[in-house]
Amino acid sequence: MTAKTFQMDGHDVPFEEGQSILAAALAAGSYVPYLCYHAEFKPHGSCKVCTVKVNGRTQASCTTPAREGDVVESNVDELNELRKNLVQFLFTEGNHFCPSCEASGGCALQAVGYELGMTTAHYSPLFPDRPVDASHPDVLLDFNRCILCELCVRASSLVDGKNVFSLSGRGITKHLIVNAESGKLADTTLSVEDKAMSVCPVGVILRKRRGFKAPIGERRYDAHSISEVAVAHPEDEAK
């Protein structure tokens, strides 16, 4: 019996029953840009950067189960333009000053931006007011860079069993909160060993006193583009 397959950009992609289009594509070595997906967690499909066309209909590939015979388009101009705009939306929405960011070079948002040929944020920046939380002895939270992917929320709840992070607000005022009446990270049970410490794709959750430990030029996406890294280690990408 041959494995089930769907077609993506003209190639056959094998998949297991229940696997998403994105997971199957990455496992087969075909990169689809994504941000809020993480192999270890149930996908929730919020960033929409992984959008593909399935039999002509646009869908988030991380939440769409692969089906035998589906015809999927991914690496085409129309979709890359859409993805680039979504990444621009994310840059527009937060405060991203890459040159001064500890995550620069290791940041998935920046790397996907490069991958998609994005040169500016294009839209007028919203400049939200998001104060930094430096209350915790070992961890700094710079909310300015949060892309609301909820990976820390999922990791803290599902792996750490702590629910340190949650979301509040609605629409453009949606924001990350920590689980404390004071609103301060120091008053939560977060510890540096937590899974939630290692999943942020951008530069929000930072270890104190580790700044620039990895020199610029030697960071995750410096030598290899995110499309190469993602398919080389589909299991641990976004760590």
Binding site: F89, N163, S166
Partner: protein, 596 residues
Amino acid sequence: MALNLSAIVARHGGDPSRLVQILRDVMDAEGHVAPPVITALASTLGVSRGQVEGVVGFYSFLDSEPRGKYRVLFSDNITDELSGGHELRQRMLDAFRLELGEVSRDGLVSIGATSCTGLCDQGPAMLVNGRAIARLTPARIGAIASLIRGESPMDQWPDNLFVIDSHIERKDLLLSTPLSPGEAIDAAIARGAAATIDEIARSGLRGRGGAGFGTGQKWAACAAAHGGGPAERYVVCNADEGEPGTFKDRELFAHYTDLVLEGMTVAGFAVGAQKGLIYLRAEYPFLFAPLLAKLEERRRAGLLGRDVRGARGFDFDIELHIGAGAYVCGEESALIESLEGKRGIPRNRPPFPVTHGYKQQPTVVNNVETLAVAALIAKHGADFLRAVGTAKSSGTKVLSVSGDVARPGIYEYPFGVPVARVLEDAGARDTQAVQVGGPSGILLGANELGRRISFEDVPSAGAFMVFDTTRDMLAVVENFTRFFAHESCGFCTPCRVGTTLSAQMMKRLVAGKGSRRDMKDLAKVTQIMKASSHCGLGHTAGNPVIDALAKFRPSFDRKLRSLDVLPTFDLDEALAPAREATARDDAEAHFNEEES
């Protein structure tokens, strides 16, 4: 007002899925949900603190910070705006020397804006501590301001302030066919569950809440679904009615309550549910007590409860849930999340509610009007509905007509009615445009008035807002983009950011500060939202912009500056904080562009 939190929690059985209802009660008792209350609630209910805080932060009518002792919210719907709502709002702000959204320093009053309150036939309207006041005039605003100044308790305010009028202007099949309580249930029981579903399917009934899905098909799928084991099934009546310009469900619940409840019970019998849930929007507080009384009356009459109408084993009761100010909760899966006490974020689908709905059990979600029609079909059979309407749209549609018409109100027509006919009946003159189905629907220009209300041509969830030739259509569209930005749930990137960017660009365009680049970006952002959003809100949020760009292009062009690119940074505006700080407003304190 000492807060008795344990009494409130006990009233809701300590059930975390009642969180939104519990928080509403806390708001009623204290005016806000303070951080220590959030902490206490989380530990009593056994959920994380962040979860409770997240729910408070999601809904417009839940606050974690104190608002005024009198919380005034003006409806920001376009029809309220066009009938002078903004001027009245300004008058009240001036009376208390407040800015929009501000709380007075003595904590007496806060004045803000809220999305459409569903009183478009009698606007402008407002909510004061959740209670609706319609037909606002300068005199009414003056009276309300003095009641607030005198700190008069709201239950001592004159009753006439709270009177909600009813304007049922045209009745057809649904609104004119009488039904005695129990008749439809009896007919369904006599016919049997499966045959009742067949009858509904054969009638061609399609959902009246927007998507137009076949009701018989939906019920059949729910009846056949098994959930995780022996399925508990649910029937949910969607009375969120958040689409601006829609108020027909308000009237159905006010004057055809038995018919709607009968429809829910028929649905419960047909799919094998034991419980019905009504999700009613918070903006209709005048419906709460009568509805609860009606439910009690039906229980006493054996129309709800055990062995309904004597049918052995048919146990069915109905519970009322009240929303807390979120349009997205009209989307069926977000509604279910909200019913479960969570943030109203639309779920990933599939699975659909018919298999994994409320508490992951098979659930039918139907609009108020759909359920009312279903009751009549149960009694009178499929042909009763098929005899009216068009090939693909059997039956009638109840429209909520508002805006520039002589007689706003409820109009019921057979499907296929031309838009022009509705306009004529409602006394519209010099019509420039009609927004059918609300902001997420279709904007029709004056040359399209021959088009017909039906699933084949112009579908409508019920709103029908009329704009005459004196109106600035750009300002209308700007109001709609503001609505979507306010109501986006924020889950997905395209809608969360796209709705805000469109609202900002429309604001610039209306103010005459827009550039051609804004126009291009507006079209692009709209396209992105349509292509990649997670739910119907984002998919349709760009509709008014797309329609206006196509049909009212000259209105845009007139407002455009000739430049291709305009600085989004306005030097004069940037000086405003400095002017305020120095209390100056003289010519020298302004940056005059013409001179530069």
